[in-house]
């Protein structure tokens, strides 16, 4: 490498730039007005969990209305803002951002494009007239599966495998432990987190190892909130005679008869509703909180787990659900004080 080479290379780059600059922006083709767009989080849209729920909601809207939608999967932090602005620039609306990690970028871009509707899932920190924030009461759904886990457990020991030690996952864990302890105060709950890098959400092998370790300590029902890692958790539970509990999407069918239930977090419904409300003009800004009362969270029953959940268990879960909806049973939300009353 010498100076001349550098000059030649820079000149070539500049010439190429001039050539393409003249030919205009390659992605200037605009979509039809009112075309929605989705920005998935780093997990990717086929994570069998959170992002896939969002994908399913968007696909449902597409099938029903024959309305195509724009989509982008994030690979690095700088792309969050870039993708949102790209969609806004082209006039996509509503633009849905998946996950709390997009909050800072969405707040910035939404302020620049007041005429475009935005929605963000799992965050409520943005207060702009064109942003709808959707959060879920994960603790309520987790409470119910905790209750079911405690009733299904023969050893009195249950497990929880989280993705990363972040507030959202602690919120899941705290609701779960409350449900377990309310049903069997003597029960033990083992809690493990998978890792500290983005890989923690997509590491089925590590998830399986943690599950086996918990089973070795006596756990016989294991709940996961770990995205793609959970596939390994459910696999290890099924292979070692324990029961798994799925999360976000209905994962009962991954191992029929070996998955006790799934804690449903209906991000698919949320995404579908945002797209539909924008289409029929009923889109509202502000925070929507979806819990058991709104069927935003819940536990999954289908043919795959019918034999595992006995009528008394269903009765107990439904009674707890009714009490939570009526307000007579309070499930503590970890985010209010960042503490969990039980461990």
């Amino acid at each position: 490498m010498n100076k001349r080479t550098l000059l030649v290379a820079l000149a070539a780059l500049a010439a190429a730039g001039y050539y393409f600059y003249g030919s205009g922006g390659g992605s200037s083709d605009k979509p039809a007005p009112g075309t929605p767009a989705v920005v998935f989080d780093t997990g990717g849209k086929f994570d069998k969990s959170f992002n896939e729920g969002i994908y399913n909601g968007a696909e449902k809207f597409k099938t029903e209305t024959s309305q195509a939608y724009g989509e982008f999967e994030i690979t690095n932090e700088a792309q969050r803002e870039q993708a949102l602005r790209n969609f806004a620039d082209k006039g996509y609306s509503p633009i849905i951002a998946a996950g709390f990690a997009q909050a800072a970028a969405l707040g910035k871009v939404a302020a620049e494009y007041p005429n475009i509707k935005f929605a963000i899932i799992d965050d409520s920190s943005i207060t702009l007239p064109n942003v709808q924030s959707i959060v879920f009461k994960e603790e309520e759904g987790s409470y119910l599966v905790g209750l079911l886990a405690a009733m299904a457990s023969k050893t009195g020991k249950v497990g929880f495998v989280g993705g990363m030690d972040i507030p959202l996952i602690r919120k899941f864990a705290c609701g779960y432990v409350q449900g377990v302890k309310a049903t069997n105060p003597a029960a033990t709950v083992f809690q493990n987190m998978t890792g500290d890098t983005g890989a923690a959400w997509n590491d089925p092998v590590k998830g399986g190892e943690l599950t086996k370790a918990q089973i070795a300590q006596g756990a016989d029902v294991i709940y996961h909130a770990a995205g793609g890692t959970g596939v390994g958790v459910l696999q290890a539970a099924a292979d070692n005679g324990a029961l798994g509990i799925g999360v976000d999407s209905n994962q009962n069918g991954l191992h029929p008869g070996k998955v006790l239930t799934s804690m449903l977090k209906r991000v698919d419904v949320a995404v579908y509703n945002v797209m539909k409300s924008a289409k029929d003009g009923s889109f509202k800004a502000g925070t929507t909180s979806l819990g058991l009362a709104q069927d935003g969270v819940g536990y999954a029953m289908d043919d795959n787990n019918k034999a595992l959940v006995s009528p008394p268990m269903i009765a107990a879960a439904d009674a707890a659900k009714a009490a939570i909806v009526a307000g007579t049973l309070q499930v503590h939300d970890y985010m209010t004080d960042e503490k969990c009353p039980v461990q």
Binding site: G25, F72, E73, A101, P167, E338
Partner: protein, 356 residues
């Protein structure tokens, strides 16, 4: 008369033609992959190039990515010259973010130019520390630098998750990030793109690296240790000392990436802001032959691939982000691992006339 097949190729063939041929072959193979999934390769290449070079915003994003890759590429390159394979750029940059954020959030009582300067120095110092420890373990304890730097990436990730979660995150906030750094920031050159004054810092770092390696006594010692540690001892050089200093310099260079991200782009300490740039730096250094000019050019190429790739998967959802990684991987394969593959062909072409 002897055939001059093994003679020296003209300089411009080595430095310009061979990389260009490699790049073209890489793009051809990548084009085949695009063809297999049912998209038009020429159109895809057009979108990729246009996405990076077709607008001011494209250029600015390309330069922003190139800034990161220059820092991490230089970090790897400096270590290479001492015969050290520093895989820890990712962790060094991540921990360096801690220094930048501490200065940004904690020094609000100082005038901002001083605080900014301290912020940059702190990022370099934290990065240097994270490089120095594996350097010390290599020099004094014989623990292999490849193993320790990988380990230090994981330690950095755990440390940062813990600190951001429990120390930096404002109470009640779901997002795992610190509050906004408002006191100091690098000048944003072309808003709304993330390009900021750190790009000049990258140029300065490249010049500094060249000056250090080829114009200073320490640089000579670094290269001597890299060429032959035993011989270096006879020249009065202490390899242990050089290894530790080199790793600290390497870590400091990687740490500058945190200045770009934390003080220039996000203005807060966020989870995983390094985003793999530390590992891309290895490819950048290899492709750039560990020379600062080569590193800058390779960083620009990777910046182009990153920005153009993002635009490509934006315009063509069928070409997923994983496909973009495949295309980037092919470019690395042909330009790095198979760089000499076409050399004999070119050599035969150049020296053929002398046979007659």
């Amino acid at each position: 008369m002897m055939k001059k097949v093994h003679g020296e190729l003209p300089h411009w063939v080595d430095t310009a033609l061979i990389p260009a041929v490699n790049l073209v072959v890489a793009l051809l193979v990548a084009g085949l992959v695009v063809l297999i999934i049912g998209e038009n390769p020429l159109e895809a290449l057009g979108i990729l190039l246009k996405g990076a070079l077709g607008s001011v915003r494209g250029w600015s994003y390309m330069l922003y990515y190139a800034t990161n890759f220059t820092f991490t590429g230089l970090a790897v390159a400096v270590a290479f010259h001492a015969g050290l394979f520093n895989i820890g750029g990712e962790g060094q940059a991540y921990v360096a973010g801690l220094g930048a954020a501490l200065a940004g959030l904690g020094l609000e009582f100082l005038p901002w130019p001083i605080a900014l300067l301290i912020g940059i120095m702190a990022a370099m110092a934290f990065g240097a520390l994270w490089g120095f420890i594996p350097g010390y373990l290599q020099a004094r304890r014989g623990s292999h630098i490849v193993i320790t730097t990988i380990m230090f990436n994981f330690i950095a990730a755990s440390l940062m998750v813990y600190l951001i979660n429990n120390w930096f995150r404002p109470a009640g906030r779901m997002a795992v990030e610190s509050r906004e750094i408002t006191h100091i920031s690098l000048v944003n050159l072309l808003p709304p793109s993330p390009l900021n004054a750190a790009v000049f810092l990258a140029g300065l770092a490249a010049w500094f690296t060249w000056y250090l390696l080829w114009r200073t006594r320490l640089g000579y010692e670094i290269r001597a240790v890299g060429a032959n540690p035993e011989a270096a001892v006879y020249a009065g050089i202490k390899p242990q000392r050089v290894i530790m200093i080199t790793m600290a310099i390497s870590g400091a260079l990687a740490g500058l990436m945190a200045v770009n991200e934390v003080l220039g782009v996000h203005h807060r300490l966020i989870l995983e802001f390094a985003g793999g740039a530390g590992f891309v730096g290895i490819a950048v250094a290899l492709m750039g032959r560990s020379h600062p000019v080569g590193v800058v050019l390779a960083a620009l190429l990777f910046g182009l691939l990153y920005q153009g790739g993002a635009e490509l998967s934006f315009a063509k959802p069928a070409i997923t982000r994983d496909m973009i990684v495949v295309i980037q991987g092919l470019v690395i394969l042909f330009m790095g691992a198979l760089e000499q593959a076409f050399r004999p062909v070119l050599a035969a072409f150049f020296f053929a006339p002398e046979k007659a």
